[in-house]
């Protein structure tokens, strides 16, 4: 489908004058470019064009949702969405008031620094190829590599029965350079990730990073597995970001909360979760962040939402429905991975406000601890969570000491947040590839801009 206004008219016609409390229609077209080097080989050069739409209807508290690839199916399926909503609504029989938002008519065009669409495919392949050759030229024990580049440019239209009609252009660019070292049946990986919502420049000039990941992979071959136990832990800014994402971000997604009275008791605004120095937020306003989101997938404008201020629970991440159920304000956190899914409460750029500690101050006074660096992801069930570091260094008498590998931490939201006893002053704004998963919707681009933090004690699994 081409021609922005034609799409808007098409969607508007779908949502107008239908028997529903609320009706929204989305349509998107994405172009995905992917370049993958693994080992000595270029493994993939692919260009995909995906398009599809979705319609969501609300009747008496019940939702109907349909998705499709062929615009020709939309007329038939809008009927199916209305029938499904009516069916679910009969069973629920409640009046759900979506929290109000001002209807918006807007065109949000991409505002790139260096636009990847103006960089030829050949140049992208060559650039990644240069990094890959540099890794492979390092020589044994570096035996393999993983160099990824992915760019997804999306044109997205959203129209609702309340009069919102928005056209947005979204860019999500991400990748990594990784060196793989092997010796005697042991494999270790050094990795550097990058990402942006506006700038191809983040993929350039990574030669020093390539050298660093090669050195790291080689050194990790000789590093021992960290000894299991409970330690004071200093997380670097990347890992601190993932920590706050897992430890508190998911618990703050209000869709579960809105339907769970017991959880509402536990998550009462005003409850203390941490020390006065702790401020946690989630923001859709940070240009360049992968989690930058001017309007969410219900048309709610972005804001910076504080979850914890001075240790106290002050907010949560809402869709219009969850906000409506709890009598709170929508925060612009309703996100759908793509046209195949309905929007649900998700994070954007989740971070911790900077504190006052220098890096030396974060380490000082720790007799035996772990400095945990970079992130390979994590998981939570709301209360307990885990997160995996890329690697670690032991801290001995306030100084960084030997390298350790396989560092994975676990914690409990009711204990670990209050154990954050120092917060660094320098926020890291580096992005990671991959994304966040919730239900079947993964990977969704998110960011974690945080300073490094010190946790008084955390459980580390291992040998």
């Amino acid at each position: 489908m081409v021609g922005g206004d034609r799409v808007k008219a098409f969607l508007q016609a779908l949502v107008t004058g239908k028997p529903a409390d609320y009706l929204e229609a989305r349509y998107e077209e994405s172009t995905i470019v992917r370049v993958v080097y693994r080992g000595p080989r270029l493994e993939t050069v692919a260009e995909s064009v995906l398009s599809g739409g979705a319609i969501r209807a609300l009747v008496n508290g019940g939702w109907g949702f349909v998705s499709f690839n062929r615009p020709d199916d939309a007329e038939e399926l809008v009927g199916a969405a209305l029938a499904a909503a009516a069916r679910a609504g009969r069973e629920r029989g409640e009046k759900v008031v979506l929290a109000p938002v001002q209807p918006v008519q807007a065109d949000v065009l991409l505002d790139p620094l260096e636009d990847p669409r103006r960089v030829s495919l050949q140049r992208k392949v060559e650039l990644m190829g240069d990094y890959n050759r540099r890794i492979m030229a390092w020589g044994p024990p570096v035996t393999s590599s993983s160099v990824l580049y992915q760019e997804k440019f999306t044109r997205l239209w959203l129209c609702t029965s309340e009069g919102t009609c928005i056209y947005q252009e979204r860019l999500d660019l991400s990748g990594q350079v990784a060196a793989v070292a092997t010796r005697g049946g042991l494999t270790q990986i050094g990795r550097y990730g990058f990402g942006s919502s506006r700038d191809f420049g983040v993929a350039r000039g990574l030669e020093n990073k390539v050298d660093e990941v090669c050195r790291l992979a080689v050194e990790l071959l000789d590093a021992p597995v960290v000894e299991a136990g409970e330690y004071p832990v200093v997380c670097d800014s990347r890992l601190a970001g993932v920590f706050v994402h897992e430890a508190f971000g998911h618990l703050s997604e209000a869709d579960d909360l809105a339907e769970n009275p017991a959880l509402q008791q536990v998550m009462k605004l005003g409850r203390r979760f941490g020390a006065d120095i702790l401020n946690i937020y989630d923001s859709g306003l940070d240009q360049g962040a992968r989690g930058y989101l001017p309007y969410d997938d219900e048309g709610t404008p972005a804001e910076k939402t504080y979850l914890i201020r001075e240790g106290i629970l002050v907010g949560r991440l809402h869709s219009r429905e969850s906000a409506g159920r709890l009598g709170e304000r929508p925060t612009g956190n309703a996100r759908a991975l793509d046209f195949r899914f309905p929007p649900i409460c998700r994070m954007r750029n989740t971070g911790i406000d900077p504190g006052t500690a220098s890096f030396e101050e974060l380490l000082s006074g720790i007799k035996l601890g772990v400095y945990a660096v970079d992130s390979y992801g994590g998981e939570t069930n709301g209360e307990m969570f885990t997160f995996t570091a890329g690697y670690g260094r032991m801290i001995r008498n306030g100084q960084l000491a030997e390298l350790v590998r396989e560092v994975k931490l676990t914690g409990n939201v009711f204990h670990t947040l209050e154990n954050i006893e120092a917060i660094g002053r320098d926020v890291g704004t580096e992005e990671s590839p991959g994304g966040c998963g919730k239900g079947a919707q993964a990977p969704l681009p998110v960011s974690h801009w945080s300073p490094p933090i010190r946790i008084r004690r955390a459980v580390i699994g291992g040998r």
Partner: protein, 451 residues
């Protein structure tokens, strides 16, 4: 819409032929993959019906081998065949060296082995009734909330290539994902269950019964000091233990030298009682089909047989690079927006001799883990499995005495399955595309939070 396989997809099929033809004329060998499906999920949240969905999707992917290089492009709409071909040829200009050729032999005709009319025609009402039944069972436990997604799906897949292959088959999938939770101050409990089949044998009522039992057994928390313990892994936890093995038998990882196992086929690497099989022809198995996503016939592959490493899981490319026969494991993503990569179809660990009751009875002081959290992340190629015990019970003299929380389980899966495998249960459990027994590990490291 899927019923019309023999004629209803005329435009899409004509598009595929046209794309092949255009690629051929440009001097390229080509493969066109197409899949189309419709899914009907009903979704219950917090004990009530929340949403009814109907999702339709289609994906078309073209792979060309042109002047010795591979190019890929994909789309979701059967329109502009010229553009699709143009993009794939452009990608091939800078693309990787082609190390494989497309297979010319078709995998035979679809006899309906992956299709069940009863699933394809299953009424929304039936799914809703199952959902309500589950919700009611959970509601009988004080403070418990139920969430469920029940769905039926029908898909049709066709793969054609310039070597003459033409494969077409249909598949139905009935699936259930069930969650029961209890939330209280300082204590969240989640019990999960899921299953799927190409037929109607997904027993939501039986799953509900077990979950309710778990909810009741997990209401009391008990202390568990750090140390080395015998640990019984339930089927869901077994999946995490197998993560490193599956990473190391992935043909691409072997091809790239990341897997340390390239030269170890035929070696006794695990306990002789351990057998691990990938079975793309398993009756009811939702991971199977007539062929994989590259048109290679599916088959049964012993990955580990009596502890001996027997096979990797291979797609066309990794098989060609390693000089081995493809195993029918080439798999594409739902939107087909990337290359096929090796993926297991239906994964099975062979049942053992011991009854679960006897296995548990043999544990003096240890742990039963129902499921881990976060155990999938980390350095799989080193065999490390470390996970938070999301739902686990302390075992004393074979009895579940209460729930254990806030601790990490760690083993090296490679050594554990060789030196510490103390038993495999007779009972197995299917979890969608896998079927596993309970495994007893004689020792694993448990690290707990101090009080």
């Amino acid at each position: 819409m899927i019923d019309r396989v023999d004629g209803g997809f005329g435009p899409e099929f004509a598009f595929m032929e046209r794309v092949l033809d255009l690629a051929r004329r440009a001097g390229a060998a080509a493969e066109v993959y197409w899949t189309s499906g419709e899914r009907l999920p009903v979704n219950f949240e917090a004990g009530r019906l929340k949403r009814i969905e109907r999702t339709r999707r289609q994906a078309l992917a073209l792979r060309v081998l042109h002047e010795g290089r591979v190019g890929l492009s994909s789309t979701t709409v059967a329109r502009d065949p010229e553009k699709l071909v143009e993009r794939a040829l452009a990608a091939a200009r800078f693309g990787p060296q082609a190390e494989f050729v497309f297979p010319g032999e078709s995998p035979g005709s679809d006899r309906g082995d992956w299709w069940d009319d009863r699933v394809a025609a299953l009424e929304e009402d039936v799914l809703l009734e199952w959902g309500r039944g589950f919700v009611e069972r959970v509601a009988a436990v004080e403070g418990a909330l139920a969430h469920a997604t029940l769905s039926r799906e029908a898909t049709v897949t066709r793969i054609v290539n310039t070597a003459g292959l033409d494969a077409l088959y249909r598949k139905t999938v009935l699936s259930a994902v069930l969650v029961a939770e209890i939330t209280e101050e300082g204590n969240f409990l989640h019990v999960y269950s899921w299953d799927a089949s190409t037929g109607t044998d997904v027993d939501v009522a039986a799953m509900a019964g077990e979950m309710v039992e778990d909810l009741r057994a997990a209401r009391r928390n008990v202390e568990f000091p750090s140390g080395e313990y015998p640990v019984v892994l339930a089927p869901r936890a077994v999946q995490d233990l197998l993560g490193p093995i599956m990473a190391c038998v992935d043909g691409r990882a072997v091809q790239r030298g990341i897997s340390p196992w390239r030269d170890r086929l035929g070696e006794q690497m695990f306990h002789p009682s351990f057998t691990l099989v990938d079975d793309g022809r398993l009756a009811g198995g939702v991971g199977g089909g007539l062929c994989d996503d590259e048109g290679v016939p599916t088959r049964r592959t012993a990955i580990v047989e009596n502890g001996v490493l027997r096979s990797f899981l291979l797609d066309l490319e990794s098989a060609a690079a390693l000089g081995l026969t493809p195993t029918g494991n080439g798999s594409r993503s739902e939107l087909a927006d990337g290359p096929p990569v090796p993926r297991s179809t239906n994964l099975l660990v062979a049942a053992g001799e011991t009854s679960l009751a006897r296995m548990l009875a043999g544990v003096e002081d240890g742990l039963l883990v129902e499921n881990f959290m976060g155990a999938w992340s980390g350095n799989l190629y080193a065999g490390v499995v470390t996970g938070n015990v999301a739902l686990g019970y302390r075992l004393r003299h074979g009895e579940r005495v209460g729930r254990v929380k806030d601790c990490m389980f760690s083993v090296n899966a490679f050594t554990a399955l060789k030196e510490a495998l103390g038993g495999i249960s007779r009972e197995t459990r299917r979890l969608g595309r896998v079927r596993f027994p309970y495994l007893l590990l004689e020792r694993a490291t448990i690290t707990a939070r101090s009080a």
